[in-house]
């Protein structure tokens, strides 16, 4: 599998970023939903710490991913209706914005509240701002609203990929799968 993306499919670096971050986003997102209503205790403390650690990792990953994206090329769009193309690219753009906004609003919230932000108990990241109750309230509101927007856009993204795979029977999903073999395109072109 080539490292860089080609005309037909995503390269191994882009695929690694995509699936690693997918795992992290779904993991830390589910954790976030679950942990807030837990009773006080060490389990809650540790799950919050894990949620923040994964979030910081995702922030580092999305920055590396954006840098790689500048350097890498993109496969050509699969043939599809214009509205689908616009919706797909719109969703991708929103996902990038949210992949930055979610960890950053979390970081801001912890800073404004004076909470510790530690990466897997190894080191603490510095506070972005001094303690500020109002800013903390704003940051957590943005984090929660961002989560629901992210959940919605992710559903559209996954639904779109599955729709292309199952109904249009094109390579949209296959070209991002780790070991997917591409289908013959209707115009006879092969990989």
């Amino acid at each position: 599998m080539p490292i860089k993306s080609t005309e037909q499919r995503w390269g191994s670096v882009a695929k690694t970023f995509h699936w690693l971050m997918a795992l992290g986003i779904i993991g830390t997102g589910s954790l976030g939903l679950y942990m807030t209503d837990l009773p006080r205790g060490m389990t809650k403390v540790n799950l919050f710490a894990l949620h923040k650690s994964i979030g910081l990792t995702l922030l580092a990953l999305v920055l590396l991913r954006l840098a790689w994206r500048m350097f890498d090329r993109r496969p050509r769009d699969e043939p599809m209706a214009r509205w689908q193309r616009i919706a797909a690219h719109g969703a991708h753009g929103m996902l990038y914005v949210l992949m930055l906004a979610m960890p950053l609003s979390g970081w801001l919230y912890n800073s404004a509240r004076g909470y510790a932000l530690q990466w897997f108990k190894q080191f603490n990241v510095p506070a972005l701002v001094a303690k500020n109750e109002t800013l903390g309230d704003f940051a957590i509101l943005a984090h929660v609203i961002g989560f629901w927007i992210l959940a919605f856009v992710l559903l559209a993204h996954i639904g779109g990929a599955l729709m292309h795979h199952l109904f249009d029977r094109d390579n949209t999903l296959l070209r991002m799968l780790p070991f997917g073999r591409l289908r013959k395109r209707p115009d006879g072109e092969t990989t």
Partner: protein, 183 residues
């Protein structure tokens, strides 16, 4: 003449032996608190309610004494979850041990510092604790600053699942800033 030379130092000695260290009460604006470390981040806690009886004279440490009584349930640390946890049995266990008390057993000079040795009773355990003392007279009133470092696990504060010192550091710095009013 000879008599007066003799008697004057004697009288002086009598007066100082009879003198006791000044007694003070703690007035408004005094603070007693600690700083502890949670997940590598320091946070401050303060006790809203405490009483102290202070007798102190820098020139007569032998007559000095501190007796400090702290209402543990009055603790605030700036976080609702943490404040709600501290009275729990794993931390201060305030329903069984509502108060902590520090009573001095003696004072000593250590270099330029004055050290107050005493006994801290916290969560049913009594252990020796030494405070560094800084006393500043201000007319008949004074300010008293004390600091010390405790190991929370010596007093079983944060027991069970909270004993992990990687999450909650063992070391807790205690500091008091007392505004003393002459009694």
């Amino acid at each position: 003449m000879r008599f007066r030379l003799l008697i004057a130092p004697l009288l002086g000695a009598l007066v100082s032996a009879g003198a006791s260290a000044a007694s003070y009460t703690v007035s408004e604006g005094s603070t007693l608190g600690f700083s502890a470390t949670f997940q590598g981040e320091t946070f401050e806690g303060t006790f809203g309610k405490f009483e102290a009886t202070i007798r102190y004279d820098p020139a007569d440490l032998a007559a000095a004494s501190f007796d400090v009584n702290i209402d543990l349930a009055s603790v605030v640390t700036g976080d609702a979850d943490r404040d709600a946890s501290l009275p729990d049995p794993e931390f201060f266990d305030t329903s069984k041990f509502p108060r902590a008390r520090f009573v001095t057993t003696g004072f000593r000079q250590s270099g330029t510092d004055v050290i107050a040795d005493g006994t801290l009773t916290l969560k049913g355990m009594s252990k020796p604790v030494s405070l560094k003392v800084r006393f500043t007279a201000n007319g008949s009133d004074a300010t008293l600053d004390v600091t010390t470092t405790l190991q929370r696990l010596d007093f079983d504060v944060g027991s069970g699942e909270y004993a992990d010192t990687k999450t909650i550091a063992n070391e807790v710095k205690v500091k008091g800033h007392l505004k003393l009013k002459a009694q």
